[in-house]
């Protein structure tokens, strides 16, 4: 198991290969369908995003509300393929990592390699287990989107697997280099 920390530096990203199991710690931002649509629209209008994406990692998740005494509810990954349409725009802002579940389309796999980024999967449906690795959670943008708002999470040893790497490797497509 490889331990990695955010923000991810290029050397670390380049060292990761499809199929590697990693434990990721540090800040990650949540974002799913509605937040991506809004960020893409903001950029289309040449306006400023509510957060700096350069060097950051987005976790595709819409957590359940935190019950009293907990930092977050359950928080497992959502299907990443729905965010493929927005990925180039985000990579262009300097995004370096994505966490979700499920296959990316071929164009997105190529973009991930081209931009020197990485796509990780967390175990889909293991939301109660994954939430235990979340140390803190605060809404930093789009609070009106509820569970789809952008949350800043600090995670400690989030268990992930590298799906798409900088070499074009793809763990789902059994293209491991």
């Amino acid at each position: 198991m490889i331990e990695i920390f955010t923000p991810l530096d290029d050397l670390t990203i380049a060292s990761l290969s499809a199929g590697d199991q990693v434990l990721l710690s540090g800040v990650v931002y949540t974002g799913r369908d509605a937040a991506h649509a809004r960020m893409a629209e903001t950029l289309r209008r040449n306006e400023k995003l509510p957060l700096e994406l350069a060097g950051q990692v987005i976790y595709y998740v819409g957590p359940t509300p935190a019950p009293p005494g907990r930092v977050i509810g359950s928080a497992g990954p959502t299907t990443s393929g729905r965010m493929d349409a927005f990925t180039e725009v985000m990579l262009n802002q300097g995004l370096k990592g994505m966490i979700g579940k499920g296959i990316r389309n071929e164009d997105t796999v190529d973009l991930i390699a081209q931009y020197g980024a990485v796509y990780f999967a967390a175990t889909g449906g293991a939301a109660a287990l994954l939430a235990k690795r979340v140390v803190s959670c605060e809404v930093v943008a789009y609070p009106d989107l509820g569970c789809e708002a952008i949350h800043k999470l600090v995670v400690d040893k989030l268990p992930l697997i590298v799906i798409n790497d900088t070499k074009g490797g793809d763990f789902y497509r059994k293209r491991v280099k």
Binding site: A121, A127, A128
Partner: protein, 280 residues
Amino acid sequence: MREVAVHNITESIASGCIEVCTQLPRDVYEALCSACLTESNPTAVSVLGQLVENADIARDENVPICQDTGLMVVFIDIGQNVHITGGYLADAVNEGVRQGYAQGYLRKSIVSHPLARVNTNDNTPAVIHTNIVPGDGLTIWLVPKGGGCENMSVAKVLKPSDGVEGVVKYIVDTVIQGGSNPCPPIIVGVGLGGTLEQAAILSKRAILRSIGSINPKEIDADLESRLMTEVNKTNVGPSGYGGDTTALAVFVESYPCHIASLPVAVTIQCHAARHKVIEL
């Protein structure tokens, strides 16, 4: 005529929503445990281990198994000798969902229109299927259906000449196409026959069955067994990482159909196969 007051329906649905989202049914839990022992792919074994641990945490700490606490699909079999009093049935169901999702800190995942996409913020409305049956019972099934696996579900009217081979190919292709997206290991609900909407409803009802149950109709039982083998040969595996455990079960429900048609619907259910029955 037996009377059932709507407040009883609301209260049991409210508490049922919380229970169904936090406690994995025993048969599903046991199927995941067994798969840990039979699965040959080591990455798949570690995924299955996480899923068992996840179910333990959810049950012990009373938190949702999955952050996607779903759209609440509610099947209600109403005995024709039952009189529902004090209000309207659908209102009572939706009020139960509203209360359960608020009190249980469950995620609100419903938008009011598929194109306008504004969250209703209380997880209503539910999708309600009522069925009038003999007697004076009132049976409610709660099925919180997640988006990831519902998005991989399909329906199509095949030609009679497509036959069993066409049906098997359609279903297996659906599983392969879904791949990692619907959170395998999955449960495959198949609705065969009727009309397009009847097949789809049958496929949803099919996922209410307990793992290990076999369709009493021999022809459907044979299809279940064949599909289980074929689906588990796809090497999709847990989380789509490859392996022997792509499906925990395949359930087929059939109905007569038109001489010209062979409708088939496939409901893909993720491993968080949550469902609960309430008898009132």
